[in-house]
């Protein structure tokens, strides 16, 4: 775990330039990256999206096509990758380096079972030069599955190693039969099959739940410790970096900004960009305070650049930063390097200066609204929205025969949920993916009809969206997770925002004024009104979606994972916009998220969902500081901590049971560390424990 001398570097990248040729001129994705990975080391490569992290990784394994390496050298285990022949590269990719990709659904071939794919990787590694097509086709006279038996046996071992439960059964499963986490594990098993010296993992946990992420990171760490496999971990999540990396390389716009041991980077970041990135994280800011932001966006990697690429967004930038050549300074003592022209950054700071002074004033509105509902539910005003015993079941029967025989299964997406949202408060709904968060939101907005139970808005029971009148519809605004797919690509921003206004009968000029006003509220310029969604960045598109949601002055906005597809710096800006809007317009938010750090920052109250049931509901500070339900505790422990010394606690073992066949009694009992025999027998009732309502037998009073 300690720094090793540079000459033993397993991977060394020197002044790498990779570019793509396009019709608008060359795009310089990577501009002069130098870095090393030593044997047995875990190095994190961090930066916002579009910073050239993935292109760097792909260049290392020779997969940069259609881009080209125009300058620089890459040495892997002493071999120059850029000059290697195809045959050499093939050997290198198996023996020395393997890669894990971000999206496990795309990486696995859907027509082969996972055992086959892992076995193939094993076989290729054993017999690199005899890969005849017929052997892989399993055509009887030339080859048979039984010859693969040995490989499949080893595949089972590997699957057990990466933590897939029941590998003997799972080896025959096809990718679509596995959960996202299991698929990513299978992807890692394939990468580890050849026992590489270096594993490159490109955002391996980004698409996964926090509990699954914690399990996977633990596996990677263990593999590193047992086998000495070096890992190059590409991520935008500094929490993940703090959790397992020995050293960090911070990239921005294709260049390395800062390198150094994780501890030093997190506690004493020198480069303004690193500081800004860290300041954007919600867990660094007190609840209710404004988040620091980075103004502007990552520069377009086209054309020629001089000086520091971060200079336009840097508040310490000088004229020299913009024009001059920026030198890389070694901090000495193995504390890494900084590429910055501003000398003040090179001096050690005793403590990090207060949260970006420019933006640091606490927001009075959100601070007060944070304390009022948190202190205890205010019973005097009727709740804005009330869910009473709401359930949603989906029948899985395939045909009339099954239905007749009564053998059809039902999937319990939402089960007997009681929940209320009061005016002006932020209620966060958290839980792993597939726990029914989005279905609950659809029940509330009226996209789905509850199987049983009632939804009340302002005290009146309402049906689905088709049955609601215009006023009720206008009362709830919705922001969807993927801003790109929630806006019609054929409408301009003005038309998209004007759509709800139009359907409630506003005329053209009134609409136009209102759209201008809304754009200003969400922080977009007037000129964006005539843009199409594809001309805007992810953060801008999400702002448009928010503007559309508040166009009719709703009292509640349902935000379904509004920031999870965005970079940290964009995310913090959007969270600030949401806080401003809430303070100005007295909005209530139903904030759905799997990212607990964001929730902790923004929520007044938190509802924790598991397998369609509410496990715990209570004020945010109480739930986060002193969780009542074991599941909430497990979720909180799975958050990667930014404290480099502290390791994450025990992560939740096992997989989520299927909502078609939930466990008897308490649905959480088979993963619960505190489960008692009683938990299997009776389904616990919701109990009011002080300000918190929890569904558990054993929760302490």
């Amino acid at each position: 775990m300690t720094e090793q001398p540079q000459d033993s570097a397993l991977l060394s990248v020197e002044n790498l330039h990779t570019r793509f040729r396009t019709s608008e001129g060359p795009v310089h994705a990577v501009e002069g990256v130098s870095m090393t990975v030593d044997e047995g080391e875990i190095v994190g490569l961090v930066g916002e999206s579009g910073c050239g992290k993935s292109v760097t990784a792909r260049s290392i394994v020779g997969l940069q096509d259609p881009g080209e390496v125009v300058r620089g050298s890459i040495h892997l285990d002493g071999m120059a990758v850029t000059d290697a022949t195809d045959r050499q590269l093939r050997r290198l990719r198996g023996d020395t380096v393997s890669m894990v990709f971000q999206d496990p659904t795309e990486t696995l071939n859907p027509v082969f079972d996972v055992g086959e794919q892992i076995a193939e990787s094993l076989k290729v590694h054993d017999q690199l030069d005899s890969q005849s097509l017929l052997e892989y086709l399993h055509v009887p006279p030339f080859s048979s599955r039984s010859e693969w038996h040995e490989y499949r046996e080893r595949a089972i071992e590997l699957m057990a190693q990466v933590g897939i439960a029941n590998p003997e059964d799972r080896v025959d499963a096809y990718p679509h039969e596995l959960s996202g986490g299991q698929r990513q594990r299978a992807g890692i098993a394939i990468a580890l099959a050849s026992d590489p010296d270096l594993l490159i993992a490109d955002e391996p946990t980004t698409a996964l739940d926090v509990t699954t992420q914690a399990q996977l990171l633990e596996r990677l760490r263990r593999h590193n410790a047992e086998r000495g496999t070096a890992i190059l971990l590409i991520t935008h999540d500094l929490g993940v970096v703090a959790d397992i990396c020995d050293r960090v390389v911070v990239m921005y716009a294709g260049e390395v900004m800062e390198t150094g041991p994780t501890e030093r980077i997190l506690e004493d970041p020198r480069h303004p960009y690193t500081k800004a990135l860290l300041d954007c994280l919600p867990q660094r800011v007190d609840r209710g305070d404004r988040l620091a932001t980075i103004e502007g966006s990552v520069p377009e990697p086209t054309g020629d650049r001089t000086g520091c690429p971060f200079a336009p967004r840097c508040d310490q930038a000088t004229a020299a930063c913009r024009d001059g050549e920026i030198s890389t300074v070694d901090l000495g003592d193995g504390r890494g390097t900084v590429t910055c022209g501003e000398s003040s950054t090179l001096e050690a700071h005793a403590a990090r200066s207060g949260m970006a002074a420019s933006d640091g004033a606490p927001e009075p509105g959100s601070a007060t609204s944070g304390s009022a509902p948190g202190g205890g539910p205010d019973r005097s005003t009727p709740p804005l929205v009330e869910l009473e015993g709401v359930s949603r079941r989906y029948s899985l029967a395939n045909g009339p025969i099954e239905r007749l025989l009564g053998t059809d299964d039902t999937l319990r997406a939402v089960d007997d949920v009681d929940l209320e949202i009061r005016a002006g408060e932020t209620l966060a709904l958290v839980g792993e993916s597939g726990c029914g968060k989005s279905t609950l939101a659809s029940l509330l907005t009226g996209l789905e009809a509850p199987t049983t139970g009632t939804v009340r808005i302002d005290g009146t029971p309402v049906g689905t969206a088709a049955d609601r009148d215009a006023d009720t519809l206008a009362d709830i605004g919705v922001v969807f997770q993927d801003p790109r797919s929630s806006l019609n690509p054929r409408l301009t921003v003005e038309q998209a925002i004007g759509e709800p206004l139009r359907s409630s009968g506003w005329d053209r000029s009134r609409r136009r004024d209102r759209v201008r006003e809304l754009l200003e509220r969400v922080g977009l310029a007037d000129r964006h009104a005539t843009s199409y969604p594809h001309e805007l960045s992810g953060g801008q598109v999400q702002r448009v979606a928010i503007a559309r949601a508040i166009a009719l002055e709703p009292s509640l906005v349902v935000l379904d994972e509004p920031v999870s597809a965005l970079d940290a710096s964009v995310q913090s800006r959007l969270l600030n916009v949401l806080a401003d809007l809430q303070a100005d317009l007295d909005l209530a938010y139903l904030f759905i998220s799997h990212d607990l750090t964001v929730v902790e920052h923004i929520a007044d109250r938190v509802a924790v969902m598991y397998l369609g049931e509410l496990m715990e509901v209570g004020p945010a500070d109480r739930v986060f500081d002193c969780p009542t339900h074991p599941y909430t505790r497990a979720l909180l422990e799975a958050i990667p901590s930014l404290d480099p010394g502290g390791s994450t606690g025990t992560s939740l073992e096992g997989d989520r049971p299927s909502p078609v066949d939930p466990p008897s009694g308490c649905v959480f009992r088979n993963r619960c560390p505190m489960a008692e025999p009683k938990c299997a027998e009776t389904d616990p009732d919701q109990r009011q424990l002080g300000p918190v309502r929890a569904k558990c037998h054993i929760a302490p009073d």
Binding site: T22, S23, P66, T445, G446, L447, A465, A466, A470, L473, A474, I476, V478, F480, Q481, D482, S485, S486, L487, N488, P489, R490, L491, T492, E499, P500, R502, S503, S504, T530, Y532, A545, R548, L552
Partner: protein, 302 residues
Amino acid sequence: MISALDIIVTGLRRRYRSIRTSRALAAFFANPLNVAGLAIVATLSIAAVLGPAVAPFDPASQDLANRLQPPTLAHPMGTDQLGRDVFSRLLYGARLSVGIAVAVTAIRLVLGTAIGLLAGYAGGWIDEFLMRLVDIQLAFPGLVLALVVAGILGPSLRNVMLALAVVGWASYARLVRGSVLSTKEREFVEAARLMGVSRVRIAVRHLLPNVVGPVIVLATMNLGTVILGTAGLSFIGLGAQPPTPEWGTMLSAGRHHLRGAWWIANAPGAAIMLTVFGFNLLGDGLRDVLDPNHDTTLEKPT
């Protein structure tokens, strides 16, 4: 008034900007086959519009003294068995063929898109009923069905048009329904529902523009097949009647003189072939740039 003009001007400017910077356009012109297709179709359209103005002779005037003349300067494509100028007849025929093709395709497109949109968006028994209609229609060989219709209605160009129009909308309906089914699950449609946008407006404003790309591709390809179908029906005598200068009719008349006067049949034959080829190339090119699932690459094909 001024504000209305403003809106039009900004709208036009926006369109121009989006066309000029469009990757799709660049991708389309990167492939020489697409350009060839566009050139053929453009030439044909110009011939159809300007044909009567530039044709050297009246297509129906007979000159029996000059019958069956091989191509000369006066008659670039020779004369037929009644001494009519083949080139002039070809130009007039282009107008007929393209006109019929556009009309038939337009009917098919409007009918098919409307039915597909209704079926896909309404769902339930409406969908079931309309799609069974489509199945029934697709179960008949199109040209044979058109032949029957044209045969019953009697031989004339108008009846050929009707016959071809009623047999061809099914593929549009099926295509549109498929795209609508996937598009209506997208979040922007859900968002529109939650904003209280009416069902008709969702269908026309939100669904239609997003499913129209593949329809345009199909229509372009279809123009070629319709020209082929019209010529075919005319060839067997169900379509245009002599002396109408229609390509199929010309082909039919010329086949008796194939040995002595090859140009009479070959000129319209080559015209038909080139036209269908042009429309297919154009359609292929449009598919490459309009298909949302197809990531347009600017690299030239190797």
